[in-house]
């Protein structure tokens, strides 16, 4: 059967795309002819894949990521590659080497990150659904900031084969869409076992969202409404939680004491993993050619200092430092203890309640260039990183506005109960629409 094509020539006012396929091929299947955008850190055979970094400018992957193969089998048309913070390192998509993406709800504001291009492409009506990746909130944050839905799946449910690695133990590929149903549909295509990813689990997702949440127990952690969380945002989210109660859910106050250490544990872990993962970018096998007449270190430093952005170099250096002799015990080893404590806290709470709810982000979308200090940017991730450290599924669903900008309600669930967080988000969405 010959492949058919769709024409995809959007006016990209938000700089959501780094590359588009004017004519995108597709086959038959449940997603026949549906335009799907893909974050540019996911390998696409024959389509330039840059991670929004100058070090991969011109890189054409010789193979497809596992999820891309699944999209094609489902008949989807991969219509383009979306902008991101370089290698996924950021919360605004301003750290792209190819310019920031703008928020379709207010072009003076950031779309969130790092999957900001994917979220803007969906929110701006250019595609119905998109793939992003979430290492510490990179799907949920832009979903919240742009007023769409995004799911970080349970670790292991979606293959990472062909995802250009930044922090392997934390990141997952996941779906973004305008509706919970679209997110659920895309999840059913991409989830499942892949022998090329040693962390892949045989837990396919075959689920139709169900809005009945009568009797559901929802944990409300005090830390998600405390210091650093904008009171107006907290108010919007509390109202949304009242809506869940009206639908028959029961709320239970709870506490996650280990949250205090979550952000530090997250940044130590991800920078350490990044320092190792990004060592492969030397310009030799792909990327800008190093001067082969110079010595190895000299040539390597020259390429990397020019082709990596500031945030990427900062994280590589932080990770290198944290893993260096004499500091490993102080930083990396402690971070792993803190991570185990967080996992234990979530296990404990989720043995008493079915899901945990709170805001996705502590504020609405920042203005462009509002956050210039790296530490204050890192602090914005405080409510999203715990799910990555624990490996559990988490979804962000739009739940109203504050100051005219969208606010996201975050639902976190037990490990491998992605279906349940989808159902809660669906119940809320159906009740308010």
């Amino acid at each position: 059967m010959p492949a058919r094509t769709i024409v995809f020539e959007p006016s990209d006012r938000y700089n959501a795309f780094l590359a588009t396929c004017g004519r995108a091929e597709h086959g038959d299947g449940p997603l026949a002819g549906v335009a799907v955008a893909v974050k540019d850190n996911i390998s696409t055979r024959g389509i330039e894949t840059t991670c929004a970094s100058k070090i991969l400018k011109g890189y054409i992957p010789p193979y497809d990521a596992h999820v891309i193969g699944l999209l094609k089998e489902a008949g989807a048309a991969v219509v383009g590659k979306t902008n991101l913070d370089e290698f996924g390192m950021g919360t605004t998509t301003e750290n792209s080497a190819f310019g920031p993406t703008l928020n379709p709800c207010d072009t003076g504001r950031v779309p969130g990150g790092s999957s900001g291009g994917s979220a803007a492409a969906v929110a701006g009506g250019m595609v119905r659904m998109a793939l992003g990746t979430d290492t510490g909130g990179s799907i949920r944050c832009p979903a919240a900031f742009c007023g769409i839905t995004g799911l970080k799946p349970s670790y292991g449910r979606v293959s990472r084969y062909g995802l250009i690695a930044y922090s392997n133990s934390l990141e997952q590929i996941g779906p973004l869409g305008k509706t919970v149903t679209d997110v659920s549909t895309l999840m059913s295509i991409i989830a499942g076992y892949d022998r090329h990813d040693t962390t892949s689990l045989n837990k396919p997702y075959d689920h139709t969202p169900d809005a009945d949440i009568k009797g559901l127990k929802v944990g409300i952690p005090q830390e998600y409404f405390g210091k650093g969380v904008d009171p107006q945002v907290a108010g919007v989210v509390k109202k949304a939680i009242c809506r869940l109660e009206e639908l028959g859910a029961a709320t239970v106050p709870c506490s996650i004491p280990s949250m205090e250490y979550a952000l530090a544990a997250y940044y130590v872990t991800c920078t350490c993993e990044a320092s190792s993962n990004l060592a492969r970018f030397d310009g030799v096998r792909y990327g800008p050619a190093p001067d082969t007449k110079k010595s190895w270190h000299e040539a390597y430093q020259e390429v990397r200092s020019h082709a990596f952005g500031t945030e990427v170099r900062r994280r590589i250096m932080l990770g290198t430092f944290a893993l260096s002799s004499g500091y490993y015990g102080k930083y990396y080893a402690k971070a792993q203890v803190a991570r185990a404590n967080i996992r234990a806290d979530f296990n404990r709470i989720l043995s008493e309640v079915d899901v945990i709810a709170g805001p996705t982000m502590p504020t609405i979308a920042f203005r462009l260039r509002e956050k210039s200090d790296p530490l204050s940017m890192y602090l914005a991730d405080i409510l999203t990183v715990p799910a990555n450290l624990a490996g559990i599924p988490a979804i962000s669903v739009p739940c109203g506005k504050s100051g005219g900008m969208p606010v996201g309600l975050q639902i976190m669930g037990r490990m491998y109960e992605d279906e349940r967080v989808i159902d809660v988000a669906y119940a809320y969405e159906q009740a308010v629409n």
Binding site: G58, Y59, I60, P62, Y63, R195, E260, Y261, L263, A264, A265, Y267, V268, S275, G283, V284, R285, Y286, G287, P288, A289, P290, T292, K294, S295, W296, H297, E298, A299, Y300, Q301, E302, R304, S305, H306, T310, R313, R314, I316, M317, L318, T320, F321, A322, S324, K330, Y331, A333, K334, A335, Q336, V337, A338, R339, A340, N341, D373, P374, L375, Y378
Partner: protein, 89 residues
């Protein structure tokens, strides 16, 4: 506290290069971030091994792989089917 010399040393270890005019900013940002990381000092104990984890291995059997041309396509400097790299020795 890390000094500018420390940051210079880390940049060399990480092979990311650093300019004189970046050094001050990187150093102060590093100190702010590392101060924040110090919250981990209060974490006690050791991490218990996570249960349910096991190694995933396969037999060491040769399987089809990408054609050589496809793999070399992205290499900016090549010679006789090899990738050219800076000298190591």
């Amino acid at each position: 506290m890390v000094t500018e010399d420390d940051v210079q040393h880390i940049a060399e270890l990480a092979d990311v290069g650093i300019n004189k005019d970046e050094l001050g900013t990187f150093t102060s940002q590093f100190n702010a971030i590392l101060d924040y990381f110090d919250t981990l000092d209060a974490v006690k104990g050791t991490a218990a091994a996570q249960s349910g984890l096991f190694n995933v291995l396969r037999e060491d059997e040769v399987e089809p792989s990408l054609p050589l041309e496809d793999v070399l396509d992205n290499a900016p400097a090549q010679e006789d089917g090899f990738i050219k790299a800076p000298r190591v020795m």
